[in-house]
């Protein structure tokens, strides 16, 4: 259903199949006598990624995009729903098999300073996914490490250094090398360039694209930056308060977006150009509280009407491989497109 037109015949099994994923967290009790409050971090997310293709997940803080990443990585158990990689439900695998299955999916984190243990050498850090799989002799290990370090543009001599001897961009290369060492099929990258300087950001994004071309990797790229996701991904899911509100190819999403939230995101991106004057939105305070019923975005939406506040819109087809969860999707698509380039 969510597959794109260019996807291979439907007989082929998707690399990653996420079905109806929900995650609730219980908040600390405020009172002994009241039931503990719960937050719905993820509210029924369904997505598929075919081998060699990439999914971008866009959203602001609190949208559940990082929870989604952790669930795909099987770092948490979902409250309900399933995550299947190559047909295997990760949450039903025995611990030992899950550990072995992890060679196929690896992760790159946001903070290049926090994601590398300051007391370990680069060789140890990069080798970690291999050593987690089982014993391996030192010479082979170092050979593998030197191989991936070269792939990400670092040198053999860097193996015995410590993380603090590298700049932010180099550290992110090290983190990518660590994810690559098991030759995974899927890399989940949670805001991989948002902590980097603009000039370095471009180097890392180019590297990620090269690696994809070279190894046929799939990425799940989590980001708040639409342009970054557009650059690397074949399909984009826009999340808002734990739900996917719009999903489709970057071309569809940016040329004629169907959800008012996607539109708001597009309009909010500052444009680097002469004579650029920001479109001024209403000075409305974003309240992210949800009513019991109705569309979660209704309180911020300029198009919201009574129907929106009463009935939650389902995610539905608004075009070929283009889904949106909005009663007024057609009206939004009819609006003049947000000038994209810039």
């Amino acid at each position: 259903m969510t597959m794109l037109e260019r996807t291979p015949p439907p007989a082929e099994q998707p690399l990653l199949d996420v079905k109806d994923l929900e995650q609730r967290y219980t908040l600390p009790r405020e009172s002994m006598f009241k039931p503990a409050a719960q937050v719905h971090a993820l509210n029924g997310v369904t997505a598929q990624v075919m081998a060699g293709r990439s999914l971008g997940v866009v959203g602001e803080s609190g949208s559940g995009k990082s929870t989604f990443a952790r669930l795909v990585m099987a770092l948490e158990r979902p409250s309900s729903g399933s995550v299947s990689l190559m047909g295997r439900d990760l949450n039903r695998l025995p611990a030992d098999e899950l550990r072995r299955a992890r060679r196929d999916f690896q992760m790159v984190f946001q903070d290049p300073y926090g994601s590398l243990d300051p007391r370990q050498t680069i060789a140890r850090i990069v080798a970690e996914p291999l050593t987690a799989l089982g014993r391996m002799d030192r010479a082979t290990l170092r050979e593998r490490v030197s191989g991936v370090l070269r792939q990400v543009g670092l040198r053999d001599a860097d193996m015995d250094k410590f993380p603090h001897e590298f700049s932010g961009g180099q550290r992110q290369r090290i983190a990518i090398a660590r994810a690559l060492i098991t030759q995974p099929k899927l890399i989940v990258a949670d805001e991989p360039v948002s902590a980097l300087d603009v000039s370095v950001q471009a180097q890392v994004l180019n590297l990620m694209q090269d690696l994809q071309d070279q190894f046929g990797l799939s990425y799940i790229l989590i980001s708040h930056d639409l342009a970054v996701v557009d650059y690397l991904c074949d399909e984009i899911a826009v999340m808002y308060l734990g739900r996917i509100v719009e999903q489709g190819s970057p071309e569809d999403l940016f040329a004629h977006c169907a959800h008012p939230y996607t539109r708001a995101l597009l309009e909010a991106v500052p444009r680097a150009r002469a004579g650029g004057v920001r479109r001024r939105g209403a000075q409305r305070i974003a309240s992210q509280s949800t009513g019991a019923t109705g569309c979660a975005y209704a309180s911020r939406c300029p198009l919201a009407d009574q129907h929106c506040r009463e009935t939650a819109p389902p995610l539905r087809n608004v075009g070929r491989a283009h889904l949106a969860a909005c009663h007024h999707a057609e009206a939004v698509m009819a609006l003049p497109s947000v000038a994209a380039a810039g």
Binding site: D225, E267, R271, R273, A274, A286, G342
Partner: protein, 340 residues
């Protein structure tokens, strides 16, 4: 005051800052000059370690004691370089205010927001506690905090990130400063909130006739929010001019590199981003001559001999590069097309 609105409110001449780093002394800022009249806005763009934040801290007199500041900073004709800390305290929060990147750390978690907004008022003006509180509520209301009168006694953790930034803006504005310095005020916020906060700052600046210095790493934020801009790299200003002029035709290879390196929405698939080779240099070991020489695509031997002088490439558009004939042969920049 009486001198007319044409005299510069703040005038910086040849500002230099020397910092002590763990790798020895470093010239964090060199030869920064600009002047701002009342109501004007100036943007500082650059990457980490380019000296933009150090420049802001120098204006605020907030550098560590070991820092050596040279040159001149004049506020309404009064020299600020060498001013005692006690005298600087009378200016900070009163005539010059600053908004920081992290609203979380800029607010004291143990005090109510009302108290924190009222604090500069109590310190710099002799108004009563009740007046200060009333003024604090009015300010919080002005910055768009919902139910300001009710929530004035709440604590910072009870607000969202965007609301907290509104509170720090109210704090910065309490004493009606002449100069507002905003150091990456929206970097920690979501995109949709970012626009609201920038709108608010723009409104307040216009409303109160303040001068604003906006610091950002984001060329888009600069393009949309300030009249003039300066691009900094390695502690020096490499390009400066009216924002529209600079964005129409960028002169310095670094500005051009920054502009081209950004991933752009709707760019054709499969195109590679143009990168700037290498990494941002450490301040302690900047190259001699042009600070950008090691990463520049059109570098020549003479670039490394001495720091290039500023070349005028247009009306009040200065570029610190000796190869503008090459760098500007091709137009780099973008102009908003009227899509009416």
């Amino acid at each position: 005051m009486s001198d007319t609105a044409n005299a510069p409110l703040i005038e910086v001449r040849d500002l230099g800052v020397r910092l002590n780093t763990s790798r020895g002394p470093a010239q964090a800022v060199r030869g920064v000059s600009f002047s701002l009249r009342r109501g004007e806005t100036l943007g500082l763009v650059g990457e980490s370690g380019c000296g933009k934040s150090v420049t802001a801290l120098a204006l605020m007199g907030l550098l560590p004691e070991s820092a050596v500041v040279s040159g001149s900073i004049r506020l309404d004709g009064h020299e600020l370089v060498g001013l005692s800390d006690a005298n600087y305290c009378k200016l900070r929060g009163n005539r010059i205010s600053m908004i920081f990147q992290e609203p979380m750390t800029a607010l004291n978690p143990m005090h109510t927001i009302g108290r924190q907004v009222a604090e500069p008022l109590r310190r710099h003006t002799n108004c009563s506690a009740a007046d200060a509180r009333r003024e604090a509520i009015a300010l919080l209301d002005r910055v768009g905090l919902p139910d300001a009168a009710k929530r004035v006694d709440a604590y910072p953790h009870q607000f969202s990130g965007g609301q907290r930034q509104r509170i720090t803006i109210a704090m910065a504005l309490a004493c009606q400063p002449d100069v507002l310095i905003a150091d990456e005020p929206t970097t920690a916020l979501d995109v949709t909130i970012q626009g609201q906060i920038l709108d608010l700052i723009a409104d307040l600046v216009a409303e109160r006739g303040m001068s604003m210095i906006l610091i950002s790493h984001d060329l888009g934020v600069i393009a949309e929010n300030v009249q003039r801009m300066m691009v900094m790299y390695g502690g020096i200003v490499v390009e400066s001019g009216a924002t529209n002029t600079v964005f129409t035709r960028m002169g310095h290879p670094y500005t051009q590199g920054l502009f081209r390196a950004r991933p752009r929405l709707g760019a054709r698939k499969g195109t590679r981003l143009q990168t700037i080779a290498g990494t941002v240099p450490e301040l302690a070991d900047l190259p001699s001559g042009c600070t950008f020489a090691d990463r520049c695509g059109i570098v020549e031997d003479r670039c490394r001999v001495a720091l290039p002088a500023v070349v005028d490439v247009g009306a009040r558009h200065g570029v610190r590069c000796i190869r503008t004939d090459v760098s500007m042969a091709e137009t780099v920049g973008a102009v908003e097309h009227d899509h009416a």
